[in-house]
Amino acid sequence: MADQPTTSAETSAPLCTPPLIPNLPDDISLQILARVPRFHHPFLSLVSKSWRSTVNSAELFRTRSLLRTSQFSLYLSLRIDSSFQWFNKWEIGPKMRAAREFSAAGEWNGKIFVMGGCNVDNWARSINWAEGWGGLRCRYWGMGNVPKRLDLGWRGRAAVVDNVLYCYDYLGKIRGYDVEKDVWKELRGVDKGLPKFLCSSTMVNLDGKLCVLWEGKGNGKEVDIMCAEIEVKRDVDGGLSGTILRLEVILVVPKGASISHCLAVEF
């Protein structure tokens, strides 16, 4: 009795979905849509409902990734007039093993990792320089010792490009940390192109390029958000050098606004 005939009719319904393009197999249609640059995707979405769901589908993203037509975008979170708006409900998690300020945090494999921003002046603290948290009902666990040089040299926002951790130091220079050699190296070749002090700068890995963002001067009423895209490479002598590919104002915001976060997203 529970097995109603309508069940089978419902389950067979998706099979009757019309093709994306009449008379063309969907895999061919997908090949065509995947070659339309993402900038034009809103217009593809308007063609029909099935086009809209395809544009937003993981399948189209996979096809575009394989074709290398997927693109990276920068997402900026700005603080304007010192007001933040939070849309999520926050809950307090368990205490970390080390007290931190301005630490880096990220999510990987369903776990949250926090590192830096703490004193490592004794053994107990140094083994907790980086710690992980597996979610509800879990405790933090220490991740082991950190190379002292790495901790001392790491300032502010950082980004990893080709296994080198880059950050911006007090003297206004970009430096990269070589994990194998345990040494910080100055990024050569970018001095002339970049201003001496990058106000509230942040960095991000944008499709293999080091992207530096900072607040520029503007006209008094507004602030320019500047962006430099830098190609970084290892030199024969083991040093690091960069080439500024572009440097421009990417956004103009009201005075008093500041960069809070920056993310590179591929889609």
Binding site: P22, I32, P37, V47, S48
Partner: protein, 167 residues
């Protein structure tokens, strides 16, 4: 030619196949060109018959695909020349022609031509109005006017300063 025959009688004469379109036209194609199509290659492996009848590809489209296959089978042409041939091959072709071509590449399984045509179609489409795309592909608009207006509102940024064509 004579010397070639004397030196290598086995390789002197290239094998050919005849391919017939759905409207009855026949094309003589070298086997080396035909086997660039995965479907034709399979057919040739399975049967001795040198005549292949394609029931869903018309003569104009078939002629274009064969020109493409023959160029790509030509060992005397460099890869650069083949690439510029590909660009010229799709340039200036009507959207309708490209639709038949892409469908034929699916039937014949000629992946590289399929991708070249798909790229050209995408390039044409991106500057067209939504209505144009629906008309060319014969796609029914299944949005209600309200739903369509809502999507246009959500992605309003995408419609600024855009010059879209309807022909």
């Amino acid at each position: 030619m004579v010397t070639t025959d004397e030196k290598g009688p086995l390789t002197a004469k290239k094998k050919s196949v005849i391919i017939r379109s759905c409207d009855g036209d026949e094309f003589l194609v070298s086997e080396s060109a035909a086997v660039l199509s995965t479907s034709l290659k399979k057919i040739l492996e399975e049967k001795e018959d040198r005549l292949i009848h394609l029931s869903d590809i018309d003569n104009k489209t078939l002629a274009m695909v064969i020109a493409y296959l023959s160029t790509h089978a030509d060992d005397g042409l460099s890869d650069d020349l083949k690439r510029s041939f590909d660009q010229e091959f799709v340039s200036g072709k009507e959207f309708d022609v490209l639709k038949y071509l892409v469908l034929a590449t699916d039937t014949l399984q000629v992946t590289c031509l399929c991708y070249t045509v798909a790229k050209k179609m995408a390039d044409i489409m991106k500057n067209k109005l939504v209505e144009w795309v629906r008309r060319e592909f014969d796609i029914q608009n299944d949005y209600t006017p309200e739903a369509e207006a809502e999507i246009r509102r959500l992605d309003a940024w995408a419609w600024d300063d855009r010059q879209l064509e309807d022909d």
